[in-house]
């Protein structure tokens, strides 16, 4: 199969990933090929979930600091998806955080891809994007669970 990333893309990403410090785990929630190839009544295979898996496999292969764990939400990944409250596929969870607190719903195409790359950088190098004084204020004042949803388009 044709890779999704061109040779040039690979080169750019590899160079970028050289700056990674700590290992970063990417968790992908989707559905297995075997299942999505079946045409079950009332079930539409999620094409984007398939593309997302291929892309993340290619990305994770570019650095030994990156690892990809895939969960089949219809199979053995259901318990983990339920635990984290994953509501849509494809879903990408960045990092090992037990609550899966940084998550992306949808294929990482267009603008979402650089955002995911920045998230990987920030987690690996422990460099939040917010100003330090704001980060400190967040740690001090946000003392209860907060869910922030951000809606974006691919372009």
């Amino acid at each position: 199969m044709m890779p999704l990333l061109s040779d040039k893309d690979r080169e750019i990403l590899q160079e970028r990933f050289e700056h990674l410090d700590a290992p970063v785990t990417l968790k992908l929630f989707g559905e297995s090929d075997a299942r999505s190839l079946l045409t079950l009544p009332g079930h539409t295979p999620n094409e984007m979930a398939k593309v997302t898996r291929e892309l993340l496999e290619e990305v994770a292969a570019l650095s030994d600091k990156l690892s990809l764990v895939t969960y089949d939400v219809n199979g053995d990944g259901k318990a983990e998806a339920d635990r984290l409250g994953i509501q849509h596929i494809p879903a990408i969870v960045l990092g090992d955080d037990d609550g899966g607190r940084v998550r992306f719903y949808g294929a990482p195409v267009g603008n979402e891809f650089p955002t995911i790359l920045e998230g990987i950088d920030a987690l690996s190098n422990n460099t939040p994007k917010v100003r330090q004084e704001v980060a400190l204020a967040v740690a001090e004042h946000v003392d209860q669970p907060v869910t922030v949803k951000v809606f974006v388009t691919p372009t």
Partner: protein, 69 residues
């Protein structure tokens, strides 16, 4: 990342039009905090923080302007 209390979810609206409809997304990026507080567009960090504090019923925090006196 700055707080263990914050969960961030990014939705791609074209793939999840129902979620976009549910939250009446007319422009992007649209940010919704705890399903109560919301804003459209990119905002400075401190505005974001204060939107979070508003959503959890806490007073706003004031910051010196970046690079200011």
């Amino acid at each position: 990342m700055a707080s263990p209390n914050v969960t961030a979810e990014v939705f791609e609206v074209q793939e999840f039009p129902e979620a976009a409809r549910q939250y009446q997304v007319m422009g992007v990026p649209k940010t919704i905090i705890n399903d109560t507080s919301e804003f459209v567009g990119a905002v400075p960090d401190e505005v974001f923080l204060n939107a979070i504090l508003q959503a959890i019923g806490k007073p706003a925090v004031e910051f010196m302007p970046p690079g200011g006196a």
